[in-house]
């Protein structure tokens, strides 16, 4: 059970940061983890409703926001979705590749390329903040 392992790591991660991974937040995290790729807020909401009877949008959005802020999830703006961060505790700027066909996600280290970007942007007087790079394309399987 890989999920349990991730949750444990997430727990430690939150403790280190001095924030609380409450029961609700843990539950939402588990739901996101149960999907192989990108998940939408309202899917999570539906799952949550199955598990606890009722739940409203703010409940799930707040939990998702927390998890993103804690670095446990990433938001995929282009798809209005969320994915699990596979580099919790690591360097922590991700290069996130989303397959437009199957929705699968791959996450690489973005530090080298962000260094280059920071330099290029700096030339224009622009200071890039900490963030992930999100790119779409086609994965190995879908490319065949």
């Amino acid at each position: 059970m890989e999920i349990a392992c991730f949750i444990e790591a997430a727990d430690r991660h939150c403790q280190q940061q001095g924030v609380k991974l409450t029961a609700l937040r843990r539950q939402v995290l588990e739901l996101v983890l149960s999907y192989p790729g990108v998940v939408k807020a309202y899917q999570v909401l539906a799952d949550l409703q199955k598990q606890r009877g009722i739940a409203a949008p703010p409940t799930v959005y707040r939990a998702l926001d927390f998890l993103v802020a804690a670095g446990l999830l990433h938001k995929v703006d282009a798809l209005n979705g969320y994915i699990v961060c596979h580099h919790v505790g690591c360097s922590h700027e991700g290069l996130i590749l989303v397959c437009g066909d199957c929705g699968q996600v791959e996450e690489l280290d973005a530090t080298p390329v962000l260094d280059v970007l920071r330099q290029q942007a700096g030339g224009a007087g622009f200071a890039i903040s900490q963030q992930n790079l999100m790119l779409t394309g086609r994965c190995k399987e879908c490319r065949t």
Copy 2:
């Protein structure tokens, strides 16, 4: 009047591509141009309604989609907004810097960095599609 000049260039660009910059599309483009930075679809819709009395969402979304497809606008997913492309006719993958404070946008050439990204992603079997890079940070003025 810089707008007129841009519209002219856009016109030529569309003719070259064999697509039509109709009156409506031109009007929408002008409205987007009238803003300094990111514009939202419903802002454009409101402006359009002021100018021609009535207009419904599909009208403006279709025009915006066309303009994005034609390479005259970029969509800023993170903000649900649109910006003018300042590199019409150029290489044409943009590195778009959005200032989180003032909303101003700067657009650089993304080809060099995307080359690097394509190589890195290729190592993971991932084929990145044509697209823009969108980064947030703080611009020169807001940094002082």
